[in-house]
Amino acid sequence: MNDGTSWPELRRVLLEETQPAPGFEQRILSGPGAAPAARRSSWAIAAAAAALTILIVVTLLLAGRALQRTGVPAATPTPPAASPAASGPPPALSTRSLSSPTFDPSGAGWVIELDQQPPLVGGMAVMHTVDAGAHWTSQLEVSGGYADLRSGPAGQALVHVMGLSTGVGAAARPAQDSFYSTGDGGAHWQRYPPPAAGIIQTVQIQDGREAWLTMEVATGSGPPDQWVIYHTADGARTWQRLGTVDLAATFGASNVGFSRSSNGRYGVFIPLIGSATPTRLYTTSDGGVHWQGAPMPAVPGQVPGAAPAVFALAEGHLAIVGQGVLLASDDGGQHWSAPRPLPPSVTGGGVEGLDSGHWWLTTRDGRLFSSADEGGTWTAAGTLPKGMTFGSLAFSSPTVGWTTASYLRPNTGNALLATTDGGRTWRSVTPPHPYATTVPCGGAGATVTAHAHLGVSYDGRERQATVPAGVGVTDGCRYRLTTADTSGTIDVATAPAERGRVYTLGDFLDVWGVPDVASMAGAFGSATRVTVLVDGRPYSGDPRTIPLRNGTRVVVQVTAPTGGG
């Protein structure tokens, strides 16, 4: 029996320390929280959606006023660039979860696909291409949560699969991280465990062979008081213990923070919690053995309490994005530039850099700017397809790049887009989804023989354009179940040898890449009940078994208690 009252002081302090702010339930249930990170993982951005858009607009308005009040110099107008070309319509909506795009200039590349949205643990596959995304092969299908991948020359790749706990009760399984390494383009993979037992704090993969890892350890019976830093140069087969960092001596009272290295040798650490001293930025230039502390620079226009976004670029370059300005450092944070204005109308965003002559600034509304002078001046470079926002961005040359772009709609995933003109235009190179489906794809002689309808209604009113156009139409082939527009009409095709086969709603969801009908309902909102109607009548069985015959009308009905969707 839990006797929580026998240590009342601890209980009281724990409850005080974790006290929610007023209104937190409403904020959680109505959308993403305030002050999102300047660059969030792509699936989280997808979940943000409309509320995020509103937040951005409000932030832009408030930031503009704040800048006027605080006297931040107006942004220097950049020379008018050629109007970026539109990137065409966005790819069909899906719940794909792609991450860690990594490519080399030859067009060989990798991307990780998770079939569950993290932090849920599910299957993941490493997708590999040798022709810049025209064709993909699925490799290394394992179970995992988050994963990261970097590649190197001659078919080298290193994957870190983050261990997350699974199961409930007796079925609970503890977290266990793993590393997978290949040296032949993914034909063969070797699995390696971490170098020691313990809580892994960070993993920084540099390329297909080299990585750094920090692990929290306790030297006595007390709390974790050290970081142990390990390094591998052979794809995680062996690890060398570089040294230890005394947390208290190095970082003060804090033992909580993020660390990020631009290349493993330069590292950045910012204490977050419990620091009794003003916020400092700690950097290392020897792989983490020795650290130097320096005050965080003041970011003009920064709202008190807001979090500055620090981006670690190559070779010790750092960038901090504040309200409409950027500060740059080329010595790992020891010295910082004066505030450099962002492009007009841009108050924040993410920064990526190939080298000191090629930096990019991404905005949440999908605009891309480039800079050849470390953020001194910016030029409009291009835009994503309408309705998409940047996720992970990587350039292998000044003109060739990739991003896992997310849809600015609730409960959608992302797509892999590529550019070959410096970000001016983008096209989808998303791998065919690896969901197991028995629906045939391609082949000769298939003709449309039936039309079914799938829609979503909120409180009795049908929601338009829930099912996207282009479902079942991929670069490689055309499935038997497709959509041509956003009306919800499903075209059912049949080949001569398949006469009599009846497809189901589950087949269509698999082709679409949507796990279930509840996921179709879109924004979480306050929906409490999902029912399915088939030809106007409630369907009590598993919706996946609903046969899609000619004229079948399926409506996913969402009922909200307050009358809103």
Partner: protein, 160 residues
């Protein structure tokens, strides 16, 4: 029972767990909000509605772990809510609590989570285990070790 009805009683424990693991208000709200969305989408995977609380808390804990370690988060954030104790009157009781607060902050996030779930939220060991993704015996050991580390961090023996 609708999802919101199922969820509502567990929002506050979920937030407290996220706060214990992440520290900042905004990060904790983000983590819980994202966990809510995921839980809603994956609710059909939950066979026993009675196990919703540990199942949901496990999602929150995983989200917190991953948000701290996800390699593709290149953004470093500083949350100034950590200095919210400024201005507190330093009477003896408060000083004592400050010691305890400082000691708690010196613990690892898994230790703080274990202490919160067991001592503050009164979850039985089996649910602490499920939320943390360990066996019941491992959860007992973790709670015990965390309490020991807390005592050490406070620099004094604390009576239970």
């Amino acid at each position: 029972m609708g999802f919101e009805e199922l969820l509502q009683p567990h929002l506050e424990p979920a937030f407290r767990l996220a706060r214990a693991m992440l520290g900042g208000h905004a990060d904790a709200e983000d983590a819980v909000q994202e966990s809510v969305t995921l839980a809603w989408r994956k609710l059909r995977q939950l066979r026993d509605p009675g196990a919703f609380r540990p199942w949901f808390l496990a999602i929150v804990a995983n989200r917190c772990r991953a948000s701290r370690r996800s390699a593709w988060w290149s953004v470093l954030r500083v949350d100034h809510s950590a200095v919210e104790l400024d201005g507190v009157q330093p009477d003896d009781d408060v000083v004592g609590r400050l010691d305890l607060r400082g000691a708690l902050r010196r613990l690892g996030r898994e230790d703080r989570a274990a202490l919160l779930l067991f001592y503050a939220l009164d979850l039985p060991v089996e649910e602490v285990a499920a939320a943390l993704g360990v066996s019941a015996s491992a959860a007992k050991a973790r709670i015990h070790r965390a309490a020991g580390r807390l005592r050490t961090a406070m620099g004094e023996e604390v009576r239970r």
